[in-house]
């Protein structure tokens, strides 16, 4: 069978010695995929597209960028004004970061809603959280490179988080800076790391895909695939669906790049870094705001840092926090309500992170932070003892085919 798979003699010759074509045929063409995936399953491939876009535009930008405190800001302005199409490439990279996070956050909430982190996909989920962490580090260091006021003070505040560590905190911060403040050494190492980390992300993404293809995608009703009648080949069905989703995504992306390129940025970053003056109101990029709100909600330096990192750590252990055997929220009526509360809680935290740390905002930040940890640490483990889940369908085909005898017959046949 495998002998006649490829007609092209060159492809056949190579594939016999190096089976890359068989591999691609197996993983991208025949790859059996649940037939009931909805559009929330588009966001993984969109994230991959965003990663590639960021790497390509980033390599191109680095050809025109100078990582030195005296030249960095001017070299970015030169990219905007003098380099051919430089404005376009930089705006794609700048907005690409935001869209990458939008897509990845939707991807994560999809996983939360449909229980995609549950056995046997725990490692798949953990690799995903690792990608999120790497993305955050990369995005943070990338934001420092234009060497504007927000770059400089963002770098100062975030690196100072490590000074909260008892005993060795100050030494660690000095080590991170390579000096006694954020300066040229800091900028140089951030540039180096900002360049290399995306390739580390690519490596983890490959592991993420290997783990995904081990058991295949989860699906909206969250039950296992029982046989070929529950799946369709990845190509052409999901390649076309992913391409359609990509074109919708690109419409929004292009609208942002061409019409609102600075909407998600901050005007203070168009002022060159000045170590003598802090801007009146500093905020991180929007995708860090919920975590920033948690940091500020805790009235203790070390405590704030621990809670902020804890907000990510709970994601790592989520597969063991959630004790319910039912994956999809469609069959968990109480969990479904709380899912949306968590979603709104994260939006609220994002809003509060952008507001000044005073008055009602501090109180709301504390309530929202408390809910976030309540949801993960108490609700996830305890809810399964209270909640009565709805009956699960026999197979993926059953709800589609109306639960008639055909679907049951399929299921019966598979059981034999």
């Amino acid at each position: 069978m495998s002998k006649s798979k490829f007609k092209n003699p060159v492809v056949k010759w190579i594939d016999h010695r190096l089976p890359v074509f068989s591999f691609m045929d197996h993983e991208l063409n025949h790859y059996p995929t649940p037939k009931n995936l909805n559009y929330f399953w588009n966001f993984g491939s969109l994230a991959g597209f965003a990663l590639v876009t960021m790497i390509i535009t980033g390599i191109v930008l680095s050809m025109n960028y100078t990582a030195h405190v005296d030249y960095a800001f001017d070299s970015v302005e030169r990219i905007m004004r003098d380099v051919n199409h430089g404005w376009l490439i930089r705006y794609i990279h700048m907005n690409g970061a935001s869209f990458f996070f939008i897509v990845v956050y939707i991807h994560i909430f999809r996983g939360l809603y449909y229980g995609s982190y549950k056995a046997p996909r725990e490692l798949l989920w953990i690799l995903g959280v690792l990608i999120l962490l790497l993305m955050m580090a990369t995005a943070f260091m990338g934001y420092v490179l234009p060497w504007g006021q927000m770059s400089f003070w963002g770098a100062t505040v975030i690196t100072n988080l490590f000074s909260a560590i008892p005993l060795v905190g100050e030494s660690i911060v000095t080590w991170l800076w390579g000096g006694f403040s954020v300066d040229n050494s800091t900028l140089n190492r951030f540039f180096s790391l900002h360049f290399v980390l995306p390739f580390v992300i690519v490596g983890v993404v490959i592991l993420h895909l290997v783990a995904l293809h081990r058991f295949g995608s989860n699906n909206p009703i969250g039950i296992d695939v029982r046989g070929t009648q529950d799946t369709i080949p990845f190509s052409p069905y999901y390649t076309i669906k992913d391409l359609f989703g990509l074109s919708v995504f690109l419409s929004f992306f292009a609208a942002a790049v061409f019409f609102f390129p600075n909407f998600m940025g901050h005007p203070d970053n168009y002022i060159e870094a000045n170590p003598m003056v802090t801007p009146a109101h500093i905020v991180p990029e929007w995708y860090f705001l919920p975590f920033y709100a948690i940091l500020r909600a805790v009235p203790d330096k070390l405590g704030g840092v621990l809670f902020m990192f804890g907000a990510i750590v709970v994601l790592f252990i989520l597969p063991w926090l959630d004790r319910s055997p039912v994956r999809s929220s469609q069959f968990r009526p109480i969990f479904k309500i709380f899912f949306w509360i968590l979603f709104l809680d994260c939006i609220l935290l994002g809003y509060l992170g952008a507001m000044p740390a005073e008055g009602i905002y501090v109180i709301l930040s504390r309530i929202a932070t408390a809910y976030y940890f309540f949801h993960f640490l108490i609700l996830f483990p305890l809810l399964p003892y209270i909640e009565k889940t709805k009956p699960l369908p026999i197979s993926i085909s059953e709800p589609i085919l109306g639960g008639g005898s055909t679907a049951s017959a399929f299921a019966m046949r598979e059981k034999k």
Binding site: N64, H85, G86
Partner: protein
């Protein structure tokens, strides 16, 4: 039966048209996305803005030479002596690899202006400073692979394929030239 096969053929034609036009659109899209990424490596606007240089020759004595920078490359300006001018004009073009008369290359016979980059593989030839080796023909000598240039910057011996390039320049006054 024949009607069926005919409609089948029509559908195949339609399908081919759709596939070809889809791939064509995708190709045009990919090319137009690739172009900005390629074109950014071409000279930027500020680089192009530095494309001309003015040189004051009033302090350049007979027999002296100066090197100026134009577009990041050295430009040789030499104030030639009457003997050098005579030699450059009288030599027979038959023995040259790249025959050009001195008049074609030097609008003002006193001053010769050349891009100081060997046409072989891009080294900067010697001959500008008084102590430099000037080669067998008294002009310039490239130390990298041994090309000899005469008083008009013409290749006379060695591997270089063509004469030293004459940049586009003009005299703004008797003593000031604008290169580029």
């Amino acid at each position: 039966m024949s009607k069926n096969s005919k409609s089948k053929n029509n559908n195949e034609g339609k399908r081919d048209f759709l596939i070809i036009s889809t791939y064509a659109m995708a190709g045009i899209g990919a090319a137009s996305v690739a172009w900005p990424l390629i074109d950014q490596m071409n000279p930027a606007a500020d680089t192009l803005a530095l494309a001309s240089t003015e040189v004051d020759l009033s302090s350049l004595e007979e027999g002296q030479a100066i090197t100026v920078t134009w577009r990041g490359k050295p430009v040789f300006v030499r104030h030639r002596t009457p003997e050098e001018i005579k030699l450059a004009k009288e030599v027979s073009l038959d023995e040259m690899r790249h025959p050009e008369t001195d008049e074609e290359r030097v609008p003002n016979e006193k001053f010769i202006v050349l891009v100081g980059v060997c046409t072989h593989l891009g080294c900067v030839p010697l001959g500008q400073k008084s102590g430099d080796i000037k080669g067998q023909y008294g002009g310039w000598f490239c130390p990298c692979h041994g090309s000899h240039y005469d008083h008009s910057g013409r290749i006379r011996k060695g591997p270089a394929p063509t004469n030293l390039e004459v940049p586009s320049y003009k005299f703004l006054s008797d003593n000031i030239i604008k290169i580029g």
